[in-house]
Symmetry: C3
């Protein structure tokens, strides 16, 4: 259950630096590579000659060369040449719309005719010198929507991440949920609390004291199909909280791109963008390492949850107030998928 | 093919000392934990909120707390509380009858209304200071009945355990089989033989000479659903064998609890209870280590046998005199399962 | 899709030196062992008593003894004896025709009545002192026909084996394909080229200069069901190429026996026979090691190809001129299978 006519993060540029990358996205086996003009290309990972994996081949003078018999494949899915062969009649393979933007490679797994690069999620922090970013990638054996649920309800931090970002006050603060402008937003504000270890380290990272009460906030923004940006931070207590002046707070955006692989597995691109002390690369590495540990804690929980749900496919789950963010996000996804299906069968729609 | 309305060994107390234990028994995914009053609890391993595995949670002040969002679950499968939530309407999850007795945790995977703790297998040696016990647990990819066959016919010791407890005379001694009082009993008596290495070590462990002929016995007692207690021992030859005075023999009970996990896998709780030199903990450890090696030899044989049988599901096996113990044990199991099925569909029965 | 009434290489003699070998061939689970008279035996790997794997047993005085309860099995599939049992009525298990010849163990997985040892592939080099041989075994998760395709079209060497035996001139030389005498033969001849690293090493191995142009040849001979002998070599340029005198060339036969395990996996027996410097065992070992590395490169390509084809079972592949060797080989196989099926259902055929 995932929309196809939409942009997903497929990989990061470094993953295709040295050689082609084979990755399954929304059920499609795709090879990604950097073509001659530096443009990224994405093709079906299937050589039209004998079915070899093109991702096992190499890029030679900007063209993808099959590693089995040397077929040279064009970015459009048409064979360019093959030693000793006339290739004009070779069947075309599928090419996927693909764009490199904001430090990520984005792919459109659905109908190529509908792909509009202007619709790619805008990331203001990605191209600004006022921000620093570090991140990573996890591969989870779980429906991507379980990760959406997870990130749209941070109550779990108290339990899953008790030793890093969790604290009892999250539980106690009411969560607000609203849907606006095609986004789902959940938010929590905690006033006058002690910062947990991860945030104490960040306070020190911005040369602020870590032993004083703070105001803490979490604002989770879901944008279809599965991009979640979470504004998180702490400010010295009483300085305005979320609106405190920059020198009194540490403020970051937790970046989450959740890309379905199959119905029960996904690629989780996680990271953190911050606008304090941005030139400190050691701090970037330290935050990244801390975040990697925190997010690894979710993987075991979600994969076990998936196994449980697969064992009991018909079982109804609860939808509490804390789940409203995930519930509303899934509603947007359901609408997208329904719209795609209606468009795909216009007769049925008309009848 | 296993009875459900019966008590199985689920785990040992040490397995739930530090944290909850998730274990599949008779197809049911169950979480076991020690509740506030020290009582053991067993619940469906499925949080009613979002399907998380409760076994990944923790026990806090004697209550099971889900590791995802902090739902507090009661021993009866009713939610006790959840931060910020009214939980009265939460669906109940299944609670399994569970009892700690004789050093084991026993679970009843079937109809809870029928569970009677008085029916738990009595283990005389377990609660007596005259006996010492050591044991372990193996997980086998094989129908639990293959292990019953294995233990009710010790002919295999000559071949599978040639270097430890096997000896040619086992093969040569006739086996007796009888069904009495709901038990199946197979037995073998060998007179005036040399003890194999495992038993020579035990003779020394009881300060007896290990280089003289002995009388050896094996009496295997199967009690449904899958408990096998094997009286084994050797006495200095001519002193009365099985009935020899305690100071002329070494006598033990091989303890086997065989708990189905799925149709083709099981948990094998093995151990040995002895009534000689019972305060010698080094001897207990030494026997346990020897037994672990011996019983590991069976696992490869049984798992390969299971793969063979799965490849040829319709193939008839032989039922020789040596197999009578397993055959009779399976008959008792067939009767139990038939009775359960008849009780479960009274209309069909009446018709 | 594989013929059954034919001889396949099952294993090498060293694999049954120490103990029985269990191996699946054409879907049949078979135990191979060396019986009392030194003859090789091949039986269904299933003890008629309780279904134990006979390959976990041992050979005792030339007879296969089941490792579970000591049943003694004869080479003909009839039980010889079992301790304490009369075995006359025991069901027979299947015995497979098996022959040791030319340094390999050959098995006939189909109708034993049709097995004729005279039909075993003749290997002239195998029994001659003028030749040396070294080889190995790989287990691949791929249809055995993908390996046939691979070996009947050496174009892939340029890409898969670029650093050892590949060179651009292979691509550029036209390939010839013919079917004659029940064989498929593909061939390529390259004149006045520089030898690639593997062949430069072989030139040195025969005390020839490695820095001069050579004439190179590849003649691939497919014999059903799946034996491919490839005549390969290089001669100093202008000395007659394939027909150059022995002292001006290095000439070998790449030996490939491809034995189906299941529909999508196979055993690949590879090796090289050479008729130069045959007493140099270090050279044999060096060639074997080099070949092992080269052929390991194919396994990744073929297993990925198999996964791709399994994902797209209906997809048509191209059949170019370079694929003619594989295509013709598959036609011979199709005919063999069709003939077996026709023979198996004579009534349907007559109707």
């Amino acid at each position: 259950m995932f929309p196809r006519n939409t942009w997903y993060v497929a990989c990061t540029p470094d993953e295709i630096d040295a050689k082609p990358l084979g990755r399954q996205i929304c059920g499609e086996h795709i090879v990604f590579y950097r073509a001659g003009d530096g443009q990224v290309a994405a093709l079906e990972d299937f050589c039209p000659h004998r079915g070899a994996k093109l991702s096992l081949g190499s890029v030679c003078e900007g063209q993808l060369v099959c590693g089995y018999h040397g077929l040279v494949m064009g970015c459009d899915g048409k064979t360019v040449s093959m030693p000793g062969q006339r290739t004009a009649g070779f069947p075309k393979i599928r090419a996927f719309p693909v764009v490199e933007r904001h430090g990520f490679i984005w792919v459109w797994p659905g109908d190529a005719a509908l792909a509009d690069p202007a619709a790619i999620h805008h990331l203001e922090w990605a191209d600004s010198p006022d921000w620093a970013y570090g991140g990573g990638l996890y591969h989870l054996q779980a429906d991507y929507r379980l990760m959406i649920d997870n990130l749209m309800d941070l109550t779990h931090e108290t339990y899953v991440h008790a030793s890093s970002i969790g604290q009892k006050e999250i539980d106690e603060a009411p969560v607000g949920t609203k849907v606006e402008g095609g986004q789902v937003v959940t938010s929590r504000f905690m006033e006058n609390v002690m910062a947990p270890p991860f945030w104490r380290a960040n306070l020190r990272g911005n040369h602020l004291p870590d032993d004083q009460p703070v105001d803490r906030w979490q604002v989770c923004r879901f944008t279809p199909p599965s991009h979640i940006m979470i504004e998180v931070g702490v400010a010295l207590a009483g300085q305005g909280g979320y609106h405190a002046p920059a020198e009194q707070k540490v403020y970051s955006i937790v970046v989450d791109f959740i890309t379905p692989e199959t119905e029960t597995s996904h690629w989780y691109f996680w990271g953190m963008a911050r606008n304090f002390n941005v030139k400190d690369k050691a701090l970037t590495a330290q935050i990244r390492e801390g975040q990697a540990k925190v997010f690894a804690e979710d993987t075991a929980v979600l994969e076990a949850q998936q196994r449980n749900l697969s064992l009991h496919p018909g079982r109804r789950l609860l939808m509490l107030n804390i789940d409203a963010g995930g519930v509303q996000s899934r509603k947007l996804l359901d609408k997208m998928v329904a719209a795609e299906q209606a468009a795909a069968s216009p007769v049925a729609q008309a009848a």
